[in-house]
């Protein structure tokens, strides 16, 4: 073991480490280039004076050091650097700049997975393992709440969990390290001390894999922090970050080219320590933290509430809604439901869903979604069913519902709703049309907000008794009101009216739904 130092670089007073060509664990021959540094006008390469193995890097990329400063600890040739014996043999004085017990053994970060296209951050709801535990591939190690669902995260690497850096309840961006695998705690600490630096030292960064995510390891998205430690960010992102007090370095990967942080990434990130500018501006500071009224409680918005807020605000602000209302005679539907129920479990709502599935299957305009300024017509009637919960709502989707029988629809709706209440939302985001029903709570009629990129949503009221005209006389009858909310960019009034008329025909003659 020996510590190598930076030699004189033609009289330069300082040099900045540009990149390491040999990583910890790598064998080194005398004369091999270990590291590249920059002075003000020169690019310098530093060779190893001897054969050996890189045990520990003492001057990480991006660090500016003076000649004579320690660069790297070089172990004996062929030394297994992660073996505890090597650590014991290392003279403590040799590595003054780093924790004495670090062995330079491999440290593998576990990062927040991206469990969906739109996922930008996740809240770590629960750790299933504790530091010190041995982790096997495929083992569920933690649970994440995204803006849409709660997801079990499986390990894609084996090893010993050395350090947890994101405790339960904290929200971090996708790709941010949440824990580190290492045989030696000190090795993990050394990596964490270097800013967690999505460990340049680790040969392969392990990405924790969400169990519902795509098969095979998700590709590691390019990190926004480069090997020299500078943060790649667009000017607009920098400005927004300054305004909002977001630390750019806390965003581990941007969505721009090469991982560059874009303003959208900053908008989605949590503010860190407020910088001077934000603090200096009195109005902003006041607007940022409204005091809770006496007796009031300030509550963090859950990921689900944030998603509801974002999606529905977008919908109301961007979609030209129009509304069509039609009241149907609910008696045939009720009679039909009672008759079917004797043969298999089903509900009134299932009958409505079956009618919707049929009608959506027949009207291609109602299978259209507006995506990126284009209309995409889906081949199947994927019907979303709004499921209300204490903390919000989610919309699992019955895929190709027009191909299912009433019995199958009923079974599928029940299964999806139960799963959703447990935090597992299936086929979310694949719907073309949504049904929302508040009839069971006695609501007679209501107008729903379209769930983008879908183009329509049907709100079902309570089937209730009222006075209806019959053959010129008043009598008591059961009716149900449907309110269709339509995106006028996609569907016009006449088509909407025809759709609703077809719904009425189906519900008043339900025998054809079998």
């Amino acid at each position: 073991m020996q510590t190598l130092k930076l030699p004189d670089l033609k009289g330069a007073s300082q040099a900045t480490v540009r990149r390491w060509l040999k990583q910890p664990g790598a064998p080194v021959a005398k004369g091999d280039v270990l590291v590249e540094l920059e002075t003000e006008n020169t690019l310098a390469q530093v060779e190893s004076p001897a054969d050996g193995t890189v045990a520990e890097i003492l001057a990480p990329a991006g660090k500016t050091i003076a000649p004579g400063a320690p660069l790297v600890v070089l172990g004996a040739p062929g030394a297994a650097v992660s073996a505890p014996a090597a650590a014991a043999a290392a003279p403590k004085a040799a590595t003054p700049a780093a924790p004495a017990k670090a062995t330079g053994g491999p440290v593998i970060p576990i990062v927040m997975p991206k469990a969906g296209q739109s996922m930008e951050e996740g809240t770590l709801v629960k750790w299933n393992v504790q530091p010190g535990a041995r982790i096997k591939k495929g083992q569920v190690i933690f649970v994440v709440e995204t803006d849409k669902a709660t997801v079990d995260v499986e390990a894609v690497d084996e090893g010993r969990l050395a350090r947890i850096v994101v405790p339960q309840g904290e929200t971090v961006p996708v790709q941010a390290p949440v824990a580190y695998l290492a045989e030696n705690d000190a090795d993990a600490d050394a990596v964490i001390a270097q800013g967690g630096a999505v460990a340049a030292a680790a040969p392969a960064a392990a990405v924790a894999q969400a169990s519902s995510a795509a098969p095979s390891a998700a590709p590691v998205s390019a990190a926004a922090v480069t090997e020299t430690g500078r943060v790649k960010a667009s000017p607009a992102a920098r400005k927004l970050a300054q305004q909002r007090g977001v630390n750019l370095a806390s965003i581990s990967a941007g969505s721009g080219p090469g991982g560059r942080i874009l303003s959208g990434d900053v908008a989605a990130a949590k503010p860190g320590a407020a910088p001077a500018l934000a603090a200096a501006s009195g109005t902003r500071a006041a607007a940022g933290a409204a005091p809770a009224p006496a007796g009031g409680v300030r509550k963090k918005m859950s990921q689900m509430r944030k998603a509801i807020a974002r999606n529905l605000l977008f919908s109301k602000q961007n979609i030209p809604h129009f509304y069509l209302k039609l009241t149907v005679n609910a008696e045939p539907m009720f009679a039909f439901y009672k008759q079917e129920k004797t043969r298999y479990p089903c509900s009134v709502n299932d009958v409505v869903l079956a009618a919707v599935a049929r009608a959506v299957g027949e009207f291609p305009q109602f299978r259209c979604r507006m995506e990126n300024g284009e209309l995409i017509e889906y081949p199947t009637a994927n019907i979303g069913v709004a499921v209300g919960m204490d903390e919000g709502l989610s919309v699992p989707v019955i895929v190709a519902a027009e191909k299912l029988s009433l019995q199958q629809i009923g079974a599928e709706a029940k299964r999806l709703a139960e799963a959703a209440r447990k935090g597992k939302v299936e086929h979310m985001g694949e719907g073309v049309f949504t049904v929302t029903n508040l009839g069971m709570l006695g609501i007679e009629e209501f107008a729903a907000i379209i769930n983008p990129p879908e183009a329509a949503i049907l709100a079902i009221g309570a089937a209730h008794d009222t006075i209806v005209p019959k053959d010129g006389a008043a009598r008591v009858g059961k009716v149900m009101t449907m309110m269709l909310s339509v995106d006028h960019r996609v569907i016009d009034g006449m088509v909407g009216a025809k759709f609703l008329a077809r719904m009425k025909e189906l519900l008043e003659n339900p025998a054809q739904l079998v």
Binding site: L4, K10, T42, A44, V46
Partner: protein, 472 residues
Amino acid sequence: MSQHFDIAVIGSGPGGYVAALKAGQLGAKAAVVEMSHLGGTCLNNGCIPSKALLASAELLHHIQHAGDLGVQVTGATFDWAKIQARKDKVLTMLRGGIKALFGGRKVTLFQGRAVLNGPGKIVVHKPDGSKEEITAAKVIIASGSVPSRIPGWPTDPNLVCTSDESLHWKALPKSVLIVGGGVIGCEFACMLQPLGVQVTVVEMLPKLLPNLDSQIADALEKIFTKRGIKCFTNTKVNELAAGPGGMKAVFSNGQNITVEKVLVATGRRPNTADLALDSVGLTTDRGFIRVNDRMETPVQDYYCIGDANGRCLLAHAASAHGVCAVENALGHARAFDAPIPNCVYTFPEIGTVGLTSVEAKAKGLPVFVGSYPIGFLGKAMAVGDTDGFVKVIRHRETGELLGVHILGHNATECIAAAGALLHQKVTVEVLAETVFAHPTISEAIKESAEDALHMALHLPPRKLLRVVAESA
């Protein structure tokens, strides 16, 4: 009953007139007090007249070298009186332009000398000897600066001139000693040489253009010397006296020189002495009225912009200050933090923005300097103007773009792109990834940004320094 204004501006230079226009644009009732021509130093005794004269001189310089491009011109001469007349016409048109702009923004112009007279009050001393008092809720002092003179030297402005007189010479002298090798001195030297004037420049400091990148200064000195301009750096004028045959100067190196005229270009001092600043409680620091980033003086409702505040003695800085001051005066909160480009209109031109490597090092910033010779560019060769280079200063740890320095054809125009990116605090990578049109001179900016990242394609591979790590 004195007239009352929301904002009164003292001085109509590029700081003052822009401030008044901004005030008018934002709906405020604005007044400007000007004791001389509209436009201040910039329009009357600075930027514009010097550029008009330089244009004539540069054209003559090109004609003198037209043979290099295969164009034969014989018997090219110039008429100094016509050159001056053209310059004067340009100034008249531009003054008219400011007056018209004032009309459009309903800015009231008071012709006369402004003297502060207690809080919110300004007395205008008019040319006819009368006085008029106006009042204002906010006062912006934009009184500018005047050229420094050297105490003890002959005071005849026909013999020992400043830029104020030299720009309006009725006849060209045969020989000139320029004392001071800063921006003004270098521009005059460059302008006078092609017109046949024997030019000698004396600079006390080790290099010409002491505030700019030292390599640029060295290169310019070399170009000047080649053209026959005599440059003495590290040199002082110990004695100066009128004698037979002209002004006789003795340099600190012992050398003697006799010239027809002397141009003192040693700097400018603030024009604040006659404002009665103490009547409102304002003080000065070596004549400058110090302000914060919002252009506020220590006295409430008084702002100071441009040369008079001493932050940056450049016209475009004054204009930017003016907008900032007015916005703050009218209740908008704005701090001034934009980088200010610095341009020298020699040929070749100099355009710089941001930190030099020396300034960066003084701030303790680790930098890497990329550079690219203008002469390697296709455009430079095609137009026959291959002098100069570009330097890009990069923060070694963060990659941030810290400065761009250009010596070369059209540098003052090229620098704008760098200024825009620097203002956005981009990394050098952004500059290197930007596509520049080909063939242009500004391509050298991209090339040197690439060099700063060790990825320049149009340069030979960078020489590596290979060293062996020291064993402990």
